[in-house]
């Protein structure tokens, strides 16, 4: 059981100060993704959208260029007070090492961290829109919404069918793929636009690559529909210590994704793209 969705982002589940040493108890593959489950008896119930800083307990490092060195950030896919699940996509030395882990191996985990999603205001319908591995924080959010008796439309976009296999992690979801090999051919943001056209009394929960998030942000801004977007940023610490993970705010200045986010109200963001990055 995750912690209930807070009415707004003010409250958060606090992280125990210690990095916990957890044991991996299950490793499943879902197409291109790996789900790692670890026993976490002392972990508090995270809110949907919170994340953890994770490292393998053994041999963290010594990959290409002697990396990884720092821990890596991962959304909580699901957590029930006894175990925690993470969704991984192998994109570099850190995720590769974690994808190697097998039941019995150790994991160092700090969390839950950050500010998660908050409950849909009023009776707005929740539309969860995820791109690729960005679906991770939406799974627990859907569970929570459904458990609370609310609707939760899930729209997911993937490169291809191999990645779309990840959609099985959701109670139900509609899928788009770039190459049409699963679900609709096209972008998940096209599904979102249709969904919002059908019924604009909605709130959008988004997580995915910057270009996708930026499309979601711009769309919701134009339609004046509230959105909560979970951002990513390179992180060293995950708890506000390094000031490395900043994102510029529309109101001026920067916010730290790890403590002020990762979930932001879309209206606070000027753009979801990195400076100089094209959509």
């Amino acid at each position: 059981m995750s912690a209930a969705l807070p009415p707004d982002g003010g409250s958060r589940t606090l992280a125990p100060l210690e990095r916990r040493l957890l044991e991996v108890v299950e490793r499943r593959e879902h197409g291109a993704y790996v789900v790692l489950a670890a026993e976490d008896p002392d972990g508090p119930a995270p809110q949907p959208g919170q994340f953890c800083m994770v490292a393998a307990a053994e041999r963290w490092g010594a990959g290409a260029d002697e990396r990884p060195f720092l821990p890596r950030a991962f959304s909580v896919l699901r957590a029930d007070g006894k175990r925690i699940e993470l969704l991984l996509e192998d994109v570099g030395p850190g995720t590769r090492r974690l994808c190697e882990l097998r039941p019995g191996d150790g994991l160092r985990l700090l969390g839950p961290l950050g500010r998660g999603f908050s409950a849909p205001p009023g009776d707005r319908r929740a539309i969860l829109c995820g791109g690729g591995v960005g679906m991770a924080p939406l799974a627990m959010l859907q569970d929570e919404l459904l458990a609370g008796g609310r609707d939760a439309v899930v729209l997911l976009g993937f490169r291809d069918a191999e990645h779309a296999a990840g959609a099985k992690l959701f109670a139900r979801a509609r899928v788009a793929t770039d190459d049409g090999s699963a679900g609709r051919r096209g972008l998940v943001t096209e599904l979102l636009a249709e969904e919002l056209a059908r019924d604009p009394v909605a709130i959008v929960y988004g997580c995915g690559p910057p270009a996708m998030l930026e499309t979601v942000r711009a769309l919701c801004e134009r339609l004046e529909i509230p959105a909560q977007l979970a951002l990513e940023a390179g992180m060293a610490c995950g708890f506000g210590a390094c000031y490395g993970c900043v994102v510029p705010l529309r109101e001026g200045g920067n916010a730290r994704v790890c403590v002020d986010g990762p979930v932001f109200d879309a209206e606070r963001l000027a753009s979801c793209l990195a400076p100089g990055e094209a959509a």
Partner: protein, 295 residues
């Protein structure tokens, strides 16, 4: 079990403090709650660098992972002196340990104004002067030249009765000469090393800089051996106490810095990997000092 230690007239519970800019006690309270105050990992808290005016810091990306370390181009974001005094200081003053405020200015006048303002605040136990700011004319770090640094410390020394720690730059030919100049001008202690100037190549292979600011500073285990050499060189040439840092990640590393001449050690990058790194370093150091008791 740790023994109290005197440092520039301050009584500290043990020898392990944080490196400036690598621990945000206020953010940590938002994340970990009161636990971080009850179990504060450091014997003193060193603020990140405060400048006269607010600074937004550098554009992202600000972080790069290097072999056995990291490169940062954070760019000293801070609320500026007034913001610090109004907003941060009251919260930091509530920490269970003495507060060291780290300041930087690009001219002697700026530094003087910072030192005067901080001196006026009883909540602050000591002032650390970051002299790794690039000199506007030469582009070199302000603290790279013994004469320039001596002059700077000379000017600001009379402005405060609080202990004045000069945080040296490692990007210099003769760090011990710079430390001697600081000592001669009245510094109460020196701290080192700050980060080594470093370049992070874009992982896309384009040859562009990865960091938003172009270059950055290297820290972590990769620099530890350089830090130990500089700590030893400085300790051999000054009488004032030395705060040693650079890649310290265990009690054994802390012990090495102390053996090289440091009175206190500071934990920086390792806190990013583990928020309780400071406590771990202290316990490890205790175990080395009292091997029997530790069993």
């Amino acid at each position: 079990m740790s023994e109290a230690v005197r440092f520039c007239g301050l009584e500290l519970d043990h020898r392990v403090i944080n490196a400036s800019g690598t621990f945000d006690a206020i953010a940590a309270q938002r994340v970990f709650g009161d636990e971080i105050v009850l179990r504060f990992p450091f014997a003193a808290f060193v603020s990140k660098t405060i400048t006269l005016e607010p600074r937004a810091g550098n554009p992202p990306p600000r972080l790069y992972e290097a072999p056995a370390g990291m490169i940062n181009s954070i760019g000293l974001p801070n609320r500026g002196l007034l913001g610090y005094l109004e907003h941060d200081l009251p919260q930091l003053a509530a920490l269970p340990v003495p507060l060291v405020t780290n300041v930087m200015g690009s001219t002697a006048d700026e530094v003087a104004r910072l030192v005067e303002a901080i001196d006026a605040r009883a909540e602050v136990a000591a002032i650390e002067l970051n002299v790794s700011c690039p000199n506007v004319e030469t582009g070199l770090d302000l603290g790279a030249d013994p004469r320039l640094l001596g002059r700077l410390v000379d000017e600001v020394r009379p402005l405060t009765g609080k202990p004045l720690i000069v945080k040296l730059t490692p990007n210099t030919a003769d760090v011990a000469a710079v430390a001697q100049a600081a000592e001669a001008a009245g510094a109460d202690a020196v701290s080192l090393i700050n980060t080594l100037r470093a370049f992070a190549a874009h992982p896309d292979g384009s040859g562009r800089a990865w960091l938003g600011a172009g270059t950055g500073g290297l820290s972590g285990p990769a620099v530890r051996a350089v830090a130990l050499a500089q700590i030893a060189a400085v300790s051999a040439r000054v009488e004032i106490p030395v705060v040693g840092m650079g890649g310290i990640a265990s009690g054994r590393h802390a012990r090495q810095a102390i053996d090289a001449g440091a009175t206190l050690v500071a934990v920086g990058t390792e806190s990013f990997r583990d928020p309780l790194a400071g406590e771990r370093v202290r316990l490890g150091l205790d175990a080395l000092e009292h091997p029997r008791a530790a069993r």
